[in-house]
Point group: C2
Chain length 166, copies 2
């Protein structure tokens, strides 16, 4: 019962892209370097984020990744779902329909009460992830970040960002 | 990102035990038979439920499993945590402390804002699982169960239960 570490990588990567100058992009290798992440694995997850319309890849010498939408329009759920998929945490295999007390399949009209209760709990998790945007998270992360790290991030990003060519 | 199927087994097993006559126990093999589950694997998870004080094992010829507490005092979270452990879904590896912009470790006073946001969402999931008891779940499951299956369950349980010896 654990989200993959790629969820942490993906959220941090999106948070880094928030500080890019308008129109600029950051090469995937630089994104990996910023958090010392394995480049090939991160690239795979950046591709998932791109397919989900969260980041977009620009091509050419100035190519790289940038957010495809404003950070206030990207929720944590968007990122989690892009990386992990939208399959529920709890999977009901309808075991109530097996065994000596089972009725014929057509007699089971409503969903299993156990699956319903588990899905309700999951909906609460998802609702909270949908409520929080990347903009909220970046603000929260900035508050707790050491000021020197914030400043170094800005300098590093300015040097690493590929500005759009005229 | 998925709970193990043992969570489904464990909740259904506890739900079956709710209908035992007072003081009676149900052999583990019968519990497995009731939902056509693999006996050895189910036994492992029943042992986890026993360690968590959710079920208790009685010994001897009349031995088996029964609930250790009233169903209204067992929450879905109790069962999920017994089977899956209490480790969080999201694990923060503090990747903000790595890379070219990182500050010295002692400069990081508060938790990472990304981890905080993910933990808040998880807390909503856990709160919902803690709010719902096995008694609630059984009522919900009964409402959606075919009447014939409910009746067969009662008959099967009456035959399979081991009543306490005088």
């Amino acid at each position: 019962m654990r989200l993959s570490e790629a969820v942490e990588w993906a959220i941090h990567s999106c948070a880094v892209l928030v500080s890019l100058p308008h129109g600029a992009a950051l090469p995937g290798a630089k994104l990996a370097e910023f958090h010392e992440l394995p480049g090939a694995y991160l690239a795979k997850h950046l591709a998932s984020l791109a397919r989900a319309g969260i980041v977009e890849a620009t091509v050419g010498r100035q190519g790289g990744y940038r957010l495809a939408r404003p950070p206030a329009e990207i929720t944590l759920w968007d990122i989690v779902a892009a990386v992990e998929g939208e399959e529920p945490l709890f999977r009901c295999t309808e075991i109530r329909r097996r065994g000596p007390a089972a009725d014929r399949p057509s007699a089971y009209k409503g969903p299993c009460g156990i699956a319903l209760a588990m899905r309700n709990a999951e909906a609460a998790w998802r609702a909270e992830l949908e409520r929080v945007t990347l903009a909220d998270v970046c603000l929260g992360a900035l508050v707790n970040a050491p000021p020197a790290s914030v400043q170094r991030t800005a300098e590093w990003m300015a040097a690493a960002a590929k500005l759009p060519t005229a």
